[in-house]
Amino acid sequence: MSRTQVEACLISTETSKITLPELMLRLLTDLNNLGRCSVELNKSSTLFLKVVPANRNKSAAVHDFDVPILASNFTSLAALEDLTTRQIVPLIDGVKNVHQISDEVDADPDLVKSCVQNMIFYNVCKVVPAFHLTNVYRVMPGIERLIFNGTLQRECLKTVTKAENDAPSIRDIMVLYGDMQIGITVKNLLARHTTIANKIDEKKFCDFGVMHGLISRVYKYPLYTRYNQTTVKANTTLRWFNGAHHTDDILQRIEPALTIADLDDRIEADHSVVVCWK
């Protein structure tokens, strides 16, 4: 406003002064109804305003190993201004992690991260840990919401059902979520409840749980008990076994690339490596 005033004497000229009340009215109605507003002050300058609730998703950090997944309310690409984001969005399929996406669009991982972060801020995207059958999850205190919240229940059933005519019951879902605990991989879980497992899509099941805070992924942290300064300098896998990195993270960092099974074997084989789950 003040800049326009300096440039075009918006407030002090008689003709443009008349538009001010109208402008204010539009500001008030638009901001209240739509939460955003763009007003044309004059031919050359437009004021874009948006009301952003304070503290929304403030501390969302995105890592290389996170998998972005589009929220159900995501409608069209048109709303996105940013070019990199436009490139990224078609690649978000709930399988590829940030690192892989950045490889494909040939962009800097940090740039992709900030795009994803931006999308999380606007609630059109969420990140979940990469899905794998050896993943371990644990139940969160929010699980009771699935019982008390009818909408969430219906959405959950809709999301995880594999075939319409053989839908799981809410009890099946609760049993499956409830049995998730540290030490039990998704594979074990499905083997234990084969009848339920046939009815649901396990990937969607886990992703839904994580996205709604019903369950959370438990990562495996290998700890090298004889860790010291020489290990830090040595260029081996052991260098990462310091408690700050979990297996997903380590797999992204080491060269040559290993599979999860390979890494697990290495951890198994070395007796001075202990494993923590958290």
Partner: protein
């Protein structure tokens, strides 16, 4: 996570009176030279921004929370935090903001002014003539006073202070409204104490006189030159009680997040910055009271430092009941046992425990026992090279912390964590280790929650009923429960009655331990019943949201 964003940037003391408005003390202050060079920097962005916003904000000190940010895009460039901007304010500007703009209608009200990325919080305290007169009437009774004192009074009151103001400067970014409220409360507490001391002992008059003369003396000697200029505030710190007091408050809060000072060696002012001492940036007072309100008789208390340390931190007039309570409190006992042992009521025990939790001296836990299930807390630091590992090694020597953490990775009852015949570990040592880990917030306890959801029941709305009991269950559910094939004829009736009693608790909201407490059951009895009806129940094990973290969901 850094909690330094909660720290104050500075503390200020200003007065307004017949002699005008003055800033008498600021801390931390700068050596004068430093400010000059900074001001001379022609590329400094702050200075230009500063003038514009200062003028717009100084005009409306009342309505403060608004920030004239939208117009200034330059603002976000290269200013790390409010500290730099705060330094750019001269004493005169600050005196203007804190005293000159505060007119009588604003006295004794909350003062919040935001100037770009600095928020000033304070409480201007009015000293009315009426109060001074009351003080005057009391004076003749005071034998220690020199006799001419009452005679001097009228002129003295005329030239005296009408308002004084203690202001804290905070970083505006990331500061939530309740943090501002905390600092306002601190300013108010200090102001009330000083006001009282002023009435009792002319504390403020004396201190202000001292500060004014110090500032004048220093200005005089700086004018004369000869040696490098000194800050008057530094000199004041050497001899002025009020300056020392404010410095101590500031330093204590930056260091520990709490302070306890005596104003004029008489009135005790204690304050703690909750989000800082509880290491939770978003913790408000309401959330903490809610947490304390949810204490149950079966909960226990874990002291976070030793009994002696806590006792020495207590003010000298602390209740002897609290000291006695500190002596007997143990992480193995629940509140009911503690109340019995202390010979007081449960409510009193709750009050004392709540007090200790508020000041971050203790934490609410479920008493440690061998059926508890622990897992590693998601926030635990498990770095291989950390102080925790060292400390653990010194304390318990044999197994390393990493091995213990690895043992606790798989959730299982405490009694199963360590093989029964291992030679270097016994239950006592294990309990000590668990208590230590709980103190360090490495472990969290998992509780089992049970929910009544029979197969093929689609509609779960009955579980929303807060007063759920057997009678109010839908027929569909009752039928499913009664069809239970595991019920044998002779036992059927007894088990069934027991289960009917359980129904109100089977909504997935309370854990087994609470059910045991409420219905006065033994764990084995409860497990047997639940096992018999397992076909209609669903289990889930997770941490107790009332214990592990301060639950913010239910607080507005």
């Amino acid at each position: 996570m850094s909690f330094s964003i909660l720290d104050p940037l500075g503390v200020f003391f200003s007065i307004s009176g017949a002699k005008g408005e003055r800033l008498l003390f600021r801390y931390p202050f700068e050596i004068l030279e430093g400010r000059k060079t900074r001001g001379a920097n022609p590329y400094s962005l702050i200075v230009t921004e500063d003038i514009k916003n200062r003028s717009s904000n100084a005009e409306n000190t009342v309505d403060s929370k608004r920030c004239s940010r939208s117009s200034s895009m330059v603002d976000d460039v290269g200013v790390p935090s409010g500290a730099q901007r705060l330094r750019s304010f001269s004493d005169k500007t600050l005196a203007h903001i804190f005293a000159f703009n505060i007119k009588t209608p604003l006295y004794n009200k909350k003062f919040v002014v935001k100037i770009d990325d600095v928020v000033f919080v304070g409480h201007p305290m009015h000293i009315t003539a009426g109060i001074n007169l009351r003080a005057l009437r009391e004076i003749p009774a005071n034998v220690d006073k020199p006799p001419q004192d009452p005679l001097q009074r009228p002129s003295h009151t005329g030239s005296s202070i009408s308002m004084f103001h203690i202001v804290f400067a905070l970083r505006a970014e990331d500061v939530s409204h309740f943090v501002i409220d905390f600092y306002h409360k601190l300013s108010l507490k200090l102001a009330l104490a000083i006001n009282h001391e002023e009435q009792r002992d002319d504390f403020l008059q004396k201190q202000v006189k001292g500060l004014t003369s110090t500032i004048e003396e220093v200005a005089e000697s700086n004018r004369k030159g000869g040696h490098s200029p000194v800050s008057p505030y530094g000199v004041a710190l050497g001899k002025n009680q009020l300056a020392i007091l404010l410095q101590r408050v500031y330093d204590d809060i930056v260091r520990e997040g709490r302070t306890s000072v005596r104003v004029n060696n008489w009135i005790n002012v204690s304050f703690c910055l909750l989000p800082k001492i509880h290491r939770d940036v978003e913790l408000s007072e309401a959330a903490l009271s809610e947490h304390i309100r949810r204490m149950k008789p079966y909960h226990g208390l874990l002291l976070l430092s030793s009994e002696q340390e806590i006792a020495s931190d207590l003010p000298i007039d602390a209740s002897s009941g609290l000291l006695r309570f500190l002596r007997i409190v143990s992480p193995l006992c629940n509140f009911q046992q503690l109340a019995m042992e202390a010979g007081t009521t449960l409510n009193q025990v709750f009050a004392m425990a709540g007090h200790l939790i508020y000041w971050a001296k203790a934490r609410l836990i479920f008493p440690v026992c061998e059926t508890n299930v622990y897992a590693i807390s998601p926030n635990a630091s498990i770095k291989v090279l950390s102080d925790n590992v060292e400390e653990f090694h010194q304390k318990f020597s044999d197994p390393s912390l990493l091995e213990i953490l690895s043992d606790f990775s798989m959730p299982q009852p405490l009694r199963d964590v360590v093989p029964p015949f291992s030679d270097n570990m016994d239950t006592g040592k294990l309990t000590q280790i668990v208590i230590w880990c709980l103190k360090k917030e490495l472990l969290m306890q998992l509780h089992t929650y049970v929910c009544l959801i029979p197969p093929d029941v689609k509609d779960l709305r009955y579980l929303r009923n807060d007063k759920l009991d057997w009678m109010s269950l839908p027929y569909e559910v009752k039928d499913k429960v009664m069809l239970n094939p595991l019920l044998k004829d002779e036992q059927q009736q007894a088990d069934f009655t027991a289960f009917m009693k359980l129904v109100p608790h089977l909504r997935g909201k309370v854990h087994l331990e609470e059910i045991m407490f409420d219905l006065n059951l033994k764990r084995s009895q409860l497990i047997i019943i639940l096992d018999k009806f397992r076909d209609v129940l669903v289990h889930a094990a997770h941490e107790d949201p009332n214990l592990q973290c301060f639950d913010k969901r239910n607080v507005p």
